[in-house]
């Protein structure tokens, strides 16, 4: 079963590589690079060491933006979900801001953080915060708003309120949806970090893509894209693991 899944996945990759190779056969480095040139480029940037610095820079920004978004988004979302009046006032605002691409905030981010040390990092982190914040708030809001009324009644029947209610009922009941929101948000943040780093910063994987393009090293561009994909995949698998473990520990594994 597991082997079958692997095999089928490998077929997809093989088809793609074949097509890619066929389409780019004989291209020079300044043109669309083929799989072989890309692999060689990947080897080159890996030894140059700059790749690792760029990976660290991107991961660092995502970690900050994502953590801030979770730290503010989860409590805010739960509050919005729990208090209908708060939701009535702020949810339309949240929903109106949500469709704005985080990249559109860049000019303001530059104004807001321009004067500070590490201003380019700060504005990138701000963009990542904006990209992760909305999925997290939305997931937390709907989780708290759809809390099973039986749980609420049970708690009030047994005199469990306040902090105890939050810790023993609200949090565990909303955890599955919050975790799904976090996973989604991390995926979005990773997509956005590359775009954010193409503008106005001098490090990170997005910068690596732009810098290679400016040097007309398309093989490096493709190599950076491979790295972006791999790290994105790793982050998602990590989140999936955390999700499964957290739910299993509470006897709530899916299915």
């Amino acid at each position: 079963m597991k082997l079958r899944t692997l095999l089928f996945g490998a077929i997809g990759f093989a088809l793609f590589l074949g097509f890619w190779h066929w389409q780019t056969y004989g291209n020079a480095i300044g043109d669309l690079p083929g799989p072989w040139l890309t692999a060689r480029g990947l080897g080159e940037i890996a030894v140059q060491g700059i790749l690792w610095e760029n990976i660290v820079a991107s991961v660092f920004r995502v970690a900050w933006g994502f953590s801030l978004a979770a730290g503010i988004g989860i409590p805010l979302g739960l509050a919005l979900g729990w208090y209908p009046s708060l939701r009535a006032v702020f949810n339309p605002l949240v929903q109106a801001l949500r469709p704005i691409s985080p990249i559109a905030w860049l000019p303001f981010a530059v104004i807001l953080f321009g004067g500070y040390p590490m201003s380019s990092d700060l504005s990138a982190i701000f963009l990542l915060f904006m990209s992760a914040f909305f999925p997290i708030v939305t997931a937390s809001t709907s989780a708290a708003a759809s809390l099973d009324p039986r749980y609420i009644r049970s708690a009030s029947n047994f005199g469990v309120g306040g902090i105890a209610f939050f810790r023993r009922v609200m949090l565990p009941a909303t955890l599955p949806q919050i975790l799904t929101g976090l996973r989604l948000a991390l995926g979005i943040a990773w997509v956005v970090v590359v775009a954010a780093e193409m503008l106005g910063v001098e490090s990170g994987l997005g910068y690596q893509v732009m810098d290679s393009r400016n040097a007309l090293r398309m093989d490096y561009v493709a190599a950076a894209m491979v790295v972006i994909a791999l790290i994105g995949l790793l982050l998602d698998m990590g989140m999936a693991r955390i999700e499964a473990a957290a739910l299993a520990r509470r006897g709530m594994s899916r299915r």
Binding site: Y151, N157, V160, R168
Partner: protein
């Protein structure tokens, strides 16, 4: 036996977008201390609403519901509700679920109480299990134990066996009677299963269609355990069906 709960002229109106819905239309009912009262009535007549008002989850629009002389205004640990489908928490083990209402008692004390009720409902060995690992009947037992652990005076049971299969339901009926006899709680159970009502009840309150009132309260002195083929059992069932307007 003294009167535990008095319901007088209880009216309940729900305001909805489509206008007001009259659900309870002057319900009068007395519940005796320690009795097993069953409420039957047509589907949607307001049985759950009446129970919710008696538990303090809802407030009557007019009229009064008093327990031991005091008006019911909010839920209390003195009267615990057992939900139709297991309302236990899937994220807690059996032990934690049963201990849910016990607050911050020292561990030893809490453990003693929890284990006592685990034994009462026959779930020894499942303390650490999660609800997802239990059958429907076992979950229902956990819910009973959780309710009993806080030592309430009154248990409200809203179709507690509704989600169980027919066989398990039969088993749980005798189980609830055993628990009731051992703990001597006042039990008020809602059902639309007339046979279940006759099997369980000391007295049966039959409600009318919505907006509902109590049509009549029937005494049930059949000896326990009750035999559905006993002529008295059949006669009482037929009487209830007659009141509910069901031709048989």
């Amino acid at each position: 036996m003294s009167t535990k709960i008095t319901v007088r002229g209880a009216h309940k109106v729900f305001s909805t977008k489509k206008g007001d819905v009259d659900v309870l239309d002057g319900v009068d009912l007395d519940v005796m201390e320690g009795e097993f009262l069953v409420i039957v009535g047509p589907s949607g007549c307001g049985k759950s609403t009446l129970l919710n008002c008696m538990a303090g989850f809802e407030l009557v629009t007019s009229g009064s519901i008093r327990i031991d002389g005091a008006e019911v205004r909010e839920p209390s640990r003195k009267r615990v509700f057992v939900f139709q489908e297991a309302g236990i928490f899937p994220w807690f083990s059996v032990w934690d679920n049963i201990g849910f209402g016990l607050g911050n008692l020292p561990f030893e004390e809490k453990h003693e109480i929890v284990m006592r009720y685990i034994r009462l409902v026959g779930l020894e060995g499942f303390e650490k299990a999660f609800p997802s690992e239990l059958s429907g009947g076992m979950k229902q037992r956990v819910e009973f134990a959780r309710a009993l652990a806080v030592e309430p005076d009154v248990l409200y049971l809203d179709e507690p066996f509704g989600a169980l299969d027919a066989l398990t339901r039969l088993g749980m009926r005798s189980e609830i009677i055993r628990i009731w006899r051992e703990t001597k709680k006042t039990c008020i159970l809602v059902t639309h299963d007339v046979e279940e009502a006759v099997e369980l009840a000391d007295r049966i309150a039959v409600m009318t269609k919505r907006p509902a009132t109590v049509h009549s309260v029937l005494q049930n002195d059949l000896p326990r355990p009750r035999d559905p083929d006993h002529p008295g059992f059949r006669a009482l069932k037929d009487k209830i069906f007659g009141i509910l307007g069901v031709e048989r």
